[in-house]
Symmetry: C2
Subunit: 586 residues, 2 copies
Amino acid sequence: MELKDIKSPLDIKGLSVDELEKIAAQMRAAVLFRCSQIGGHVSPNLGSVESIIALHYVFNAPVDKLIFDVSHQAFPHKMLTGRVYGYINPEDFDKVGEYTDPNESPEYDLFYAGHTSPAITLSVGMAKARDLKQDNYNVVSYIGDGALSGGVAFEGLDAGGAMNSNLICIVNDNQMAIAENHGGIYSHLADLRETNGTADTNLFKAFGWDYVYVGEGNDIAKLIETFKSVKDYPRPVVVHINTQKGEGYVPAEKDRESWHFRNPFDISSGQLLKAPHGESYEKVFKQFVNRNAEKYPEFLVITSATPADLGLNAAERAKLGHHYLDVAIAEQTGVSVMAGAARGGAKVVYGVVGTFLQRAYDQLVEDWAMDGSPSLMVVMMTGIRAINDKTHLGFWDIPMITSIPDIVYLAPTTVEEFDAMMQWALDQTQYKVAVRQPVYSLQHSSEPVDTDFSDINKFKVVKKGAGVAVIAAGDFFVKGTEVVDLLKAEGIDATLINPRFISGVDRELIENLKSDHRLIVTLEDGSVEGGFGQRVASVAGPTGMKVLNYGLEKRFEDHYKWEELEESNRLTPAQIVDDISTLMKA
Amino acid sequence: MELKDIKSPLDIKGLSVDELEKIAAQMRAAVLFRCSQIGGHVSPNLGSVESIIALHYVFNAPVDKLIFDVSHQAFPHKMLTGRVYGYINPEDFDKVGEYTDPNESPEYDLFYAGHTSPAITLSVGMAKARDLKQDNYNVVSYIGDGALSGGVAFEGLDAGGAMNSNLICIVNDNQMAIAENHGGIYSHLADLRETNGTADTNLFKAFGWDYVYVGEGNDIAKLIETFKSVKDYPRPVVVHINTQKGEGYVPAEKDRESWHFRNPFDISSGQLLKAPHGESYEKVFKQFVNRNAEKYPEFLVITSATPADLGLNAAERAKLGHHYLDVAIAEQTGVSVMAGAARGGAKVVYGVVGTFLQRAYDQLVEDWAMDGSPSLMVVMMTGIRAINDKTHLGFWDIPMITSIPDIVYLAPTTVEEFDAMMQWALDQTQYKVAVRQPVYSLQHSSEPVDTDFSDINKFKVVKKGAGVAVIAAGDFFVKGTEVVDLLKAEGIDATLINPRFISGVDRELIENLKSDHRLIVTLEDGSVEGGFGQRVASVAGPTGMKVLNYGLEKRFEDHYKWEELEESNRLTPAQIVDDISTLMKA
């Protein structure tokens, strides 16, 4: 049996360990083959190969239910469940996504789990349904790659520990999240590894689970033996397996952080095919951090396990020393530590990926916005051009953040404005400020930018015209400029506005526009519903001016090309100008 | 020294244990005195008296930082920090709130922590700031009353366990949340209690904390001795204290669940002064649950530790048996278990308090909305009349839920419509449906209600008029009726619309209104920003119709009278009619 011929898990059931090891080697090659060409999560999948083979060898999916978390480590599972073509045929790469996906495989992929940490609670729900229906299968969650530090993973251990029926949790302990691991639990896992699972105390047992340890987590025979011993187990049981992230590929074994996710590379050397860009918003952020670590002894920069998105490599983090804190994959903690440290008098910036910030909505409301501790949160990877995986869309940060009182959300339009907004936010002592790091395109200001943003919700009129007012926020300001230029050719001398603030509306300005404008157009790089433009529409509602709101429709998109998504949402400047012309003629 | 004369924690520093015990007895009387008259959290505060006295005796607030969680158990702290008047003078009751509050006492109340579980992470932030500033005080979190099962509490243990400086966590283990406790951790705490803290395994040690156990958690002398032993401790340490919820008051000791929060009562008998209403939306929900537990063998109702809000008392829960699941204070788990159980084929309803649902925003997006598992979530205690504590406002569920794709959010206007919407949602197999349980007033439908809501986003025209269209959602439909009646007197024959769906807009209807309407008015019992009405404003933006959106301004309100808040938001029917008349004449 060759990997390429595997159609379902049944195909590996009769194989010897030697044959399974051959399949494992072919899987590693397939992981590298695909990722070297289109990029992807290299090391997590090199580490999970043997344990996922053993899982499918022992358990009978889809009758038994397997839930992967974080599901970017489930490539081997996809290869065994009829989707190997996505790893060996370049023309099929885009048919198979980075995460488990019920649309891709309704039978074998039960959930998305693209964000970390929900698998154990999801498995509790499935086990509960099984018991209600008096069914009789195994429910198995497979969690690791840093996912264990997310609050809902602990909640899942807590809820699962109280069950009295079959519930299996494989903890794939590869000793890392994206970067090095942080938090007490990872020291504890190290204790368990060092004592061959016999440490004095045991977190999983404390939560009520039985516990089995496998030191050789890349040893198929050993894994098969262990999984057989817990199959049909009548209680919650954790199987803690010690695996090697990046196993079997020397460049990834040597530098496991940068091989967590890798852009296209040369397999033999490990070198990236394209050098990273020179200039970037990440660099602007990094320079801001380094500057303020010098300026303020009480400066603190927080990340929740994504230091690369903050532009900070291992050497730079070491240099920042106690000014740098990685709270692990735990955004609730990121926000609360920001709030707590600000309350204690520190100068704090929390750099967080927008889609992951969803996990901390309650902390934003209750611990940050409500409290009086001025600090700065920089929201990264937002809008249409950041990440095009359904589970990681950057479309909803504006509705999420701006529905909360007492958070000032700023949308810079250029490198210089981004830097100035961050510096103002850190220096001032009155507001909780979020800044939306641009992604869309790298823009520079031709003139000196404002440095004081304390006139809250004051929009900036960049060009005064009449008839049509274009209010273009943040990343989409460049699109607003293009629209205004095109309108000129149509004989419309439009007003162009950089709102700067997206958490409120300049009511006075809107009221004043009425005198010589018939139409307001808003542009934002995010979901229209609940967003910035709808607030403008509401304020303009009684004025008699017409309003057009541009942004993304409320819909889960997946693996889109951003040019096509812009087109289908009528977001190209030509489309927008077309709509405006039609309306102005009506 | 008498309790009434205490102005600051300094006043108890020199007292003997006997004198402190006298203060404790006076505190218990004060808790009962206040709660018997205005209602409040009785049993949690009867249980925490001695430990909070000992805390203030040993530590030096405000130099040492004390963070209470959930802060409804901090009445004794308030009494010791200059606010005893709020418990002994009826005219001052409303000057002191139910939760810690930095506005009430900037020195002593560091955070609100009205939602459970953030204290440990907040303390990590404060300790981090202290270390950066090279300050030298104790940071103490005090957590209990069910708060330990929230994901962020575990995250806090994880983050705290990795610190290498002073960090103290008092676990006030009163053996209960609001109702009985659920989850593995509470069995573990029982093990620790039964072994006097020496159980084979120890969750706190596993997270990296040192650990001390105090069996006599209502014994002041013992507590003082223990707290002294951990003061200035150079590492993270948990002090696990075993206290009695309701201690010292017989009715509360006998029925700790109904004494968690108690409406005004007679102290000698414990009887409520006002009998609970006969008819209520909770009862409608309960009947719905019982009916469907009979109908579907695979029926499951989930709560996250608030069974009373679901109308279910202990006997009723016992009768539901395996159809009932309390996941503890853990809303992330509530949503994920709902998603998991639905995926496993169960018929699921999750009843959840809107303000607490904030904790599960990411699960709503990633585990529920994105997945294909039809199920029902009933959102409780929303809008202006539900809870008037700043930390528990029901104003933001509409912006939160309706910004997420693929969740149908329904707003029933009457008892009959509420029941019909829930039944449809449970029976159907296509949509993820949330239903906003009404609070505002108990209304009945005079005619048979619809039973099929599969024509998604189809608004219902209740009365066809012209000129003005009033779209009044859910709880505020009754207000819409009043507005339309008043408009008649002004000579305006307005259209009245029950939108039913608040997660989308009936675009065709809005377009059609254009022909004979000049103004659309929206009414919703929640925040205007990011809400339902702004979506209508956006859809109506290009039509030329004017729009007025009514709801609450985006602001944290506290201890308001709802009549006054309605008035200040121009939400009385007379004010709305006044605005409409003005605009129609313009």
